[in-house]
């Protein structure tokens, strides 16, 4: 997993609530057996019109947000299916951070397992941030994981992250390595249990 320490980037606003993982990556694109290529189809049915052309009115397609590595989305982002393909699609498109006022559990875990930082902010901060980006699409946003701070020129907020996950993100560690290091404890547990 890639390390995440600090990022300074512009952001794309997506002020829609309850964005589910079927919108992030529709099921018909889940037939691949590796993790690559999902970025091409992120938000597929919102990014493209029915005839297959890019929908210029969808924020991600707006050239003024080109190159942004932060996605700022409405409440309850990533609800629905557990498909990790949603995290792969967002990372694959080039995002490194998603900011929202609320994340669904499974998506949040999947994001952290792929070096994508989900930052939960207050609804007020989210509203101001969205307004700030709308007023200035080139607004630089600093995300400092070490200090757990998201900072724009006009506002600043601290965010929470599980201390264990923070260490993983900062160092690029993943859970498999950690669990494999616990092999003896796991086997001891298996020996002691009587049920199943």
């Amino acid at each position: 997993m890639e390390k995440f320490i600090k990022l300074i980037s512009t952001a794309v606003p997506l002020p829609i609530e309850n964005i589910d993982t079927d919108q992030i990556i529709p099921a018909r694109f889940l037939k691949a057996t590796d993790k690559k290529g999902f970025g091409d189809n992120v938000f597929r049915d919102w990014r493209f019109t029915k005839d297959g052309t890019l929908d210029a009115s969808f924020p991600i397609n707006n050239p003024q947000y080109a190159g942004a590595q932060i996605l700022v989305a409405g409440d309850n982002f990533g609800c629905g299916s557990s498909r990790e393909h949603a995290a792969w699609a967002i990372v694959g498109y080039g995002f490194k951070v998603v900011i929202s006022s609320f994340f669904a559990d499974i998506f949040k875990g999947n994001a952290l397992n792929n070096g994508l930082l989900p930052i939960q902010v207050t609804p007020e901060f989210l509203k101001e941030l969205l307004a700030g980006i709308e007023a200035n699409p080139e607004l630089p946003i600093t995300v400092d994981l070490e200090k757990q701070v998201v900072d724009t020129a006009f506002e600043k907020a601290e965010f929470d992250i599980d201390p264990y996950k923070k260490v993983c993100m900062l160092n690029g560690y993943d859970d498999i390595d950690f669990l494999l290091s616990k092999k003896n404890e796991i086997e001891a547990f298996e020996k002691e249990r009587t049920i199943f």
């Binding site: 002020p15 829609i16 609530e17 309850n18 589910d20 079927d22 919108q23 529709p26 099921a27 018909r28 889940l30 037939k31 691949a32 057996t33 590796d34 993790k35 049915d45 029915k50 409405g74 409440d75 309850n76 609800c79 629905g80 299916s81 557990s82 498909r83 990790e84 393909h85 995290a87 609320f102 994340f103 669904a104 559990d105 499974i106 875990g109 999947n110 397992n113 792929n114 599980d162 201390p163 264990y164 993943d174 859970d175 498999i176 950690f178 669990l179 494999l180 616990k182 092999k183 404890e185 796991i186 547990f189 298996e190 249990r193 049920i195 199943f196």
Partner: protein
């Protein structure tokens, strides 16, 4: 202080607690399928590690399988390859696979309980958010991402923070024709799609106690639609009777011993929850959704709210409904009875009882997709297949089918589908498709009438 059902099962599976961090939770059973497992197998390959406990894993093919001509090679190359990889991976790692055509094949959350794999007091995971279904047995069961599938492969355990506890109680007497699906759609319509996020939910009260195991599975299945990673119902005699004699259930003395342990699991009288909600059964009616998330539900003869926020307006525009509208009499061309929510034998019995002697409206395409080969067999044995065929319904082969439309079972753009599945998200059943979630009874009545009808009145008449 007393412990909850969830606490008892969770605490019995904690291997270790990391200082200032998550816990390591032991996983008893791991269910896998073709869509969310291949990348996890690749991960093992890349790291040169093996599957730690293959005998605690069961695989099925369900998400991406055709529901017609399953004996023929799959036409779509990517789908065929995905299923081929599942077979190869299972063979290589000695994992039991109930593949396409196998007598035990079916939707993962239908086949595992019916084989007795799901048992009270277990921890179970699967790379599918509707794993919450198995909580109906008093099991801690939840959906995981593919990275976690890899972690369970490697270690038979997961790193997790213990969720908070939530209890939803429903007491009273349900009106006739109000089904478990209506109960859960009602609860979600009241609590919203994220009330349960960060929590594990226990359903309590006489309404759940009186439900069959099939009904309890329907309720627990949709826990994730209110954000809860899992839902549980205390195991009782109904649970034990369901499990007894099933293929992988404990037998003889082992069963008696298991039951005596399972009886210790229900929540203690003095246990407390982080959050509680109470509902009266009398308030619940057959339900329908009108929007693009499962929380946007109304009673069958109710009205869509007049106004809402931007997300509400966007949903109504997608569904082509107006604020204040009723859904009754809306012409419907597609009906889907299936999915891990409602494709068990009981669901088809209810639908068949209504359909018997009637014929579907000519405008309707009515798809019935049983949850497993065993359900398909029962349909035949009980004569229900004939009832449906005489009524003009198309009986397909088992799979997830039009619930997520990964295969060819897609609802055309712009069409409404009254569906017994679990998600009415934009495009869920096909690009541009408009899903209305409902119970099997409401779906069956819609197919007959060709439009949404008030089932309570239909049946009385």
């Amino acid at each position: 202080m007393g412990k909850t059902l969830f606490d008892k099962v969770w605490d019995a599976h904690v291997i270790d607690t990391i200082d200032n961090g998550p816990q390591i939770l032991y996983i008893d059973k791991h269910l896998i399928h073709e869509v969310t497992s291949p990348q996890a197998f690749n991960e093992l390959e890349e790291r040169g590690i093996t599957v730690a406990r293959p005998d605690q894993i069961v695989a099925t093919a369900d998400h991406n399988t055709p529901t017609e001509n399953q004996h023929l090679p799959i036409k779509d190359e990517m789908s065929r390859n995905q299923l081929q990889q599942l077979t190869e991976n299972c063979n290589k790692h000695n994992i039991t696979l109930y593949g396409l055509g196998h007598e035990y094949n079916g939707i993962v959350h239908v086949m595992a309980p019916e084989l007795g794999i799901t048992q009270p007091g277990m921890t179970m995971v699967c790379g599918d958010s509707h794993t919450s279904t198995h909580g109906a047995f008093g099991t801690i069961a939840f959906g995981i991402g593919t990275s976690q599938v890899g972690q369970v492969f490697a270690s038979q355990s997961l790193l997790l923070n213990k969720p908070k506890s939530l209890r939803v109680s429903v007491h009273g007497k349900l009106a006739p024709h109000v089904s478990p699906k209506d109960v859960i759609l009602y609860i979600i319509s009241k609590l919203g799609t994220n009330a349960g996020t960060g929590y594990f939910c226990e359903y309590a009260g006489n309404v759940f106690e009186e439900m069959s195991m099939e009904g309890r599975m329907t309720v627990c299945n949709m826990s994730i639609e209110m954000g809860a990673r899992g839902g549980m119902i205390a195991p009782d005699q109904t649970t034990f009777d369901y499990i007894a004699g099933r293929k992988f259930a404990p037998q003889g003395d082992a069963f008696a011993k298991a039951v005596s342990y399972w009886k210790t699991l229900p929540t203690d009288q003095d246990a407390t929850f982080d959050k509680e909600y109470h509902f009266d059964a009398e308030d619940i009616a057959p339900m329908l959704t009108y929007g693009t998330n499962p929380g946007m539900g109304i009673k069958i003869n109710g009205n869509i709210p007049e106004k809402g926020d931007m997300t509400f307006e966007k949903a109504l525009e997608y569904m082509n409904f107006n604020g204040g509208d009723q859904l009754l009499d809306t012409p419907i061309n597609y009906v889907f009875i299936g999915s891990c929510t409602n494709s068990r034998i009981e669901d088809f019995r209810i639908a068949a009882a209504y359909v018997r002697g009637k014929h579907k409206a000519t405008n309707v395409n009515a798809w019935l997709v049983p949850g497993s080969q065993q359900v398909a067999k029962q349909l035949e044995e009980e004569g229900l297949k004939e009832v449906f065929e005489e009524a003009g319904f198309a009986l397909r082969q088992p799979g997830c089918s039009a619930c997520l439309a990964m295969n060819d079972d897609k609802i055309p753009a712009g069409e409404y589908c009254v569906s017994t599945s679990n998600r009415n998200f934009e495009g869920r059943q096909g690009q541009g498709a408009r899903t209305i979630l409902a119970s099997p009874l409401v779906a069956a009545a819609t197919a007959i009438a060709g439009k949404i009808v008030d089932v309570t009145k239909e049946i009385v008449a």
